[in-house]
């Protein structure tokens, strides 16, 4: 499974990842670091100045010192706030930009993947990765900029200052710092796998929800709401445990850090007392040291937020990288070949195809030639491999044996741009996008003017119903065009593809929701408008099939017949069965031919 992977490789993934995506913002990040440095120095200056007030002002009894240093402290505070705000703003800008870049990169990568990789991840997981996981990675950078950087500078600066003030007592702070760092390391190691599970759980929840939303009609029709809720409940429980453990670990960490720092604080007073007693330490210095320690404690509390963010981001970054690192299994040819002619001449040569892991091949040694301008109907039982053959022409998958050539060039040697310009498809399942009718049609050809749009709608028999929509072409379609009937959606999808004016048109059973009259008018229009276009279609309709110039029969992935209707009726048993199975066929010449063949 994609979720199981050893955690050892996590750290380099994160650094490499950050390096790659933060590179464009190098200078701004350097600026942020500089600003954070200034603001931290300011914070650290305060206890030092306070020590001056005590040692030189109070103990010496000088009011002048007290007021003078006080004014200096006020000025430092002012500088600090200005710098800090500016650092925050810049940090916010960089992290928002990084989030944007990452989302865009993941989205782009998903678009470049082929069907197999998308199947592998699953759509819901890809959605979570694009939105939710990126958010976590982004939150991490934000905390890195505003908290982690300041915290690191603060604690290291505090330790350094402490050491310069008093070496031995300073060492005590070093020890404390190291102890807390140890705790942090332990925390990250413990939390990262938990967050991994948590994200997997979110995948699971979003998959179940997506199913419940998309399948709501079936769920309700079969009265399975309770069962669906149980499924959700299981997923909800699945993420409850890791969430709880994360919350508890955070608590443990907070308590641990508080206790450690307080113990060191006590130790500091004890040993400080000894050193003051032997005259090697000033009281003001001890108070400064306590001040530094307090600052470090504050920093450590903030580290809690960073640590949690970091563990979570580690899991998310790995999931993002998984997507970014996947390569499309169907890839662009290194040197695309240009076909010399543009005929739309298709050769399918000894094509084999099988899904990985499945023993039974979907297609076996299929041979087929479609001449330019010819209309060929693929006929065969459900699951005989008709759609698969079309998918291979489109290179949604690559053949596992043999070759498919268009105008003499192997489809694997054509650039994807070229191939999709040549070949247009109307897929089996209709999908429209949210947006207006016009925007949906422009998906086929962004440059098409209204005259062309209406032409395509006319051919697709969609002219009248689009014209009757309240705003015509500018009528917005609800999600996936749900406001339209299945047949209306299908016709829009056909119009969308027609706008591409492909040399080869693949129609994958895309008349299924049309009534007979509409379908036959549509076929007539296609024939009239697309003479010269090679058409490869699959259909369950007798009319569509009989109309074709040639009929190719597939049976369980093998070629079972190739010819005209009358010949196939005579020679091809499978075809005969298909035709006979259509009750309507009894009143057509088909039946007579069958009878004749039997005579």
């Amino acid at each position: 499974m994609i979720y199981r992977r050893n955690m050892g490789s996590t750290r380099p993934v994160l650094t490499g990842f950050l390096r790659a995506y933060l590179r464009p913002y190098r200078s701004r990040i350097a600026l942020i670091a500089g600003l954070q440095l200034v603001q931290t120095v300011c914070i650290l200056l305060l206890p030092t100045l306070n020590a001056l007030v005590i040692d030189n002002g109070v103990v010496e009894g000088s009011m002048g010192w007290i007021v003078g240093v006080g004014v200096a402290m006020g000025a430092v505070t002012l500088v600090q706030v200005t710098v800090a705000i500016s650092a925050e703003r810049k940090g916010a800008a960089v992290s928002a930009a990084l989030g944007r870049d990452l989302r865009s990169a993941v989205f782009r990568r998903v678009l470049s993947l082929s069907a197999r990789e998308v199947d592998h991840f699953g759509t819901p997981s890809l959605i979570t990765r694009t939105v939710n996981d990126v958010k976590h990675a982004q939150t991490l950078t934000l905390t890195l900029f505003d908290t982690a950087l300041a915290t690191a500078i603060l604690s290291i600066g505090g330790v350094v200052l402490a050491v310069t003030q008093d070496f031995w007592l300073g060492l005590l702070l070093v020890a404390m710092f190291l102890t807390v760092c140890g705790c942090i390391g332990f925390m990250i190691a413990t939390m990262a796998p938990l967050f991994e599970r948590l994200q997997t759980g979110i995948d699971l929840i979003s998959r179940i929800l997506r199913e419940q939303i998309i399948g709501v009609r079936v769920v309700r029709a079969f009265v399975q709401q309770r069962r669906e809720h149980e499924r959700f409940d299981a997923a909800n429980r699945f993420i409850f445990q890791p969430s709880l453990r994360v919350g508890r670990l955070m608590t443990t960490f907070a308590a641990m850090v508080t206790l450690v720092t307080n113990i060191f604080m006590t130790a500091l007073v004890w040993f400080g007392g000894r050193r003051i007693d032997d005259g090697s330490l000033q009281l003001g210095t001890l108070s400064a040291l306590i001040g530094y320690l307090t600052l470090i404690v504050l920093a450590m509390v903030m580290i809690l937020v960073v640590v949690t963010g970091l563990s979570r981001a580690l899991a998310s970054v790995r999931r993002i990288t998984e997507v970014l690192d996947s390569e499309p299994s169907v890839d662009e040819p290194a040197v695309p070949v240009q076909s010399r002619t543009e005929g739309g001449f298709i050769e399918v040569r000894e094509v084999d195809f099988g899904h990985p892991g499945s023993e039974a091949p979907v297609l076996h040694r299929v041979d087929l030639v479609v001449r330019r301008g010819e209309t060929v109907a693929l006929v065969g039982g459900t699951g005989s491999g008709k759609s698969t053959l079309l998918n291979l022409v489109l290179r949604r998958y690559d053949v596992t044996g043999g070759a498919i050539r268009i105008d003499g060039v192997d489809v694997r040697d054509l650039s994807a741009d070229r191939l999709t310009t040549l070949v247009g498809v109307v897929p089996q399942t209709t999908r429209l996008f949210s947006g207006t009718v016009r925007e949906n049609l422009h998906f086929g050809d962004p440059g098409a003017d209204d005259t062309r749009l209406w032409w395509a709608l006319r051919v697709a028999q969609a002219e009248s119903f689009v014209a009757e929509l309240p705003d015509g072409l500018d009528t917005p379609l609800a999600q996936g065009g749900r406001s339209l009937s299945g047949g209306q959606r299908q016709r829009l999808a056909i119009a969308r593809t027609l706008l591409r004016r492909p040399r080869v048109l693949l129609l994958d059973d895309c008349f299924s929701a049309l009534d007979g009259g509409t379908e036959s008018r549509l076929r007539a229009a296609l024939r009239h408008e697309l003479s010269g276009t090679t058409v490869l279609l699959t259909s369950q309709r007798a009319g569509a099939v009989r109309d074709a110039d040639r009929i190719v029969v597939l049976d369980a992935g093998r070629l079972a017949g190739d010819g005209r209707h009358a010949d196939l009726i005579r020679d091809c048993r499978v075809y005969r069965e298909i035709v006979q199975s259509q009750p309507l066929g009894t009143e057509t010449p088909g039946r007579e031919a069958v009878d004749a063949a039997h005579d």
Binding site: G70, L142, G247, T258, R527
Partner: protein, 623 residues
Amino acid sequence: MPPTTKGDTARRLLALFRPQRAALIGAVVLALLSTAASLLGPYLLGLATDLIAAGMVGRTLDPGASKQDVLARLREQGDGTLANVFSTMDLVPGEGVDFTKLGFVILASLAVFVIGGLCLWLQGRVVALAVQKALFELRDRVDRKLARLPLGYYDRTPPGEVLSRVTSDVDNLQQTLQLTVGQTLNMIFAIVSALIVMLVLSPTLALLVLITVPMAGALWFLIGKRAGLRFAAQWAANGAITSRVEEVYSAHHLVRGFRREQRVQARFDAENEALADTERQAQALTGLIEPSTRFITDFSYVLVAVFGAARVAAGSMSIGEVLAFTQYAGQFTRPMVVLAGVAGQMQSGLASAERVFELLDAEEQNPDPATPIRPEVVRGRIDFDRVAFRYVPDVPLIRQLSLSVAPGSMVAIVGPTGAGKTTLGNLLMRFYEVDEGRILLDGADIAAMSRDELRSQIRLVPQEPWLFAGTVAENIAYGCPGASREEVVAAARATGVDRFVRALPEGYDTVLDDDRTTLSAGERQLITLARAFLGQSAVLILDEATSSVDTRTEAYVQEAMSTLRAGRTSFVIAHRLSTVRSADIILVLDRGDIVEWGTHDQLLAYGGLYTELYAGSLAPADS
């Protein structure tokens, strides 16, 4: 929808914790204890510092003299300030630091710290559990809500929008609560108790620290209000981008097949940019809170340092007291800085909470009647009694439809696309409610029945096949989870599923889901058909149930269907008129009205729309 305010949202969020009241009270007690410890600790350390200071000074003084002598001598030398300082100390001239006393105080403070840490830890665990339980409950409620939303909600709202509310927003809420609930409690206690101690130690200095409160309060109010709006915009943009991503990824093959990656990417990038904008703005605004709060508290630190020093110089406070006061001032102001940081996250969390509550508040389908009726005997008689229905208020679809269907008969519904055929099924299943008139099942008004009762009498094969992530067998047994493998296989055989399932790598245990491409559209349809075969029902609705299935398989399935249909009332919506010829009655629908009805032969003889449709489906295109 009633307008909600931040206050309402926060209150509702708190209400989620009501079942955990006992635990939270425990948490409050523990928080009090740990706060007490965090106050007592510095006090003890202050005592320790005083001991050290006394020792430091005492060691340098003449061992023979008493404390009074030393002070008198200093005053004589005109060193009044120093005398004042020394007067506050518990010093014995000639004696160094009293390590026995110091050791005792140090041990005591250690004990206090350990107890405090323990309380903090326990409190955190209690809070973590309460937070997770509350979130569990929230997710649970959302999922239950989804089951009560009317179907129209789903037809209107992009799935991605709902998804983002249940995943991203709840996730954000979780982070917010985890970070804030525990911390806020401790911080508020710390602030209050530190304030009390400061007031006791030195009311004047305490006032200096107190002026920070109204300043910080005003600041938070001003920034928080704006930040809330920005976060609301941010999470709305997040929902929009989720919808976009969901839509595009679901249509991945189309985008690839049309080479529209760039166009889709461009649209995505525009929305992405908008999201980044809102994120930047929200963050830049909340980013103000912490530094400016820190400024206010630092400013008070400076004031305390200066005035404290002056008071020590005046002899009215000891150094140890000032140091302790500085500590308490820190304990007062530091939590304010942390709270300021938390406030930003809280704004974001509240914005998310509001989106979740908005979903929870969405209008629900009418609840089932309190005492639902049920037909005495369900035989499958259906009456449509002057039914009117419209999806869009101004566009009537079905105006006045009346129809009686005898039990066991087969009704075919045909008509041009968009005529409202599917709508009849929607109304019968009560996916949508009729606007006027009523529908009766064996004499019982279906609106007075419980939906589940009604639906369990009806088997539906919807237009678009839907499979969930699970095995083939589980998908077939969807309506009857208890079905045995034999029953599943029998249903699969009857619907032609068995043939292709045997070719799958793991047969009936092959895992499917709605997006995978292993099965063709026809095969998926057959599986949903097999689903309808399992279990008993009086009514059957087949909405284009075999449109993607090849005719040979269909003929085979038809035969099985006629067994299935025997004794059941069936509604068959079809375009392929071959499917409907044997129907007892064929209804021809056009624009929501029944324009013709009768048997196949009667309708052909009549020569109306049906004849036209029939001719169209038969005739070669060029005729």
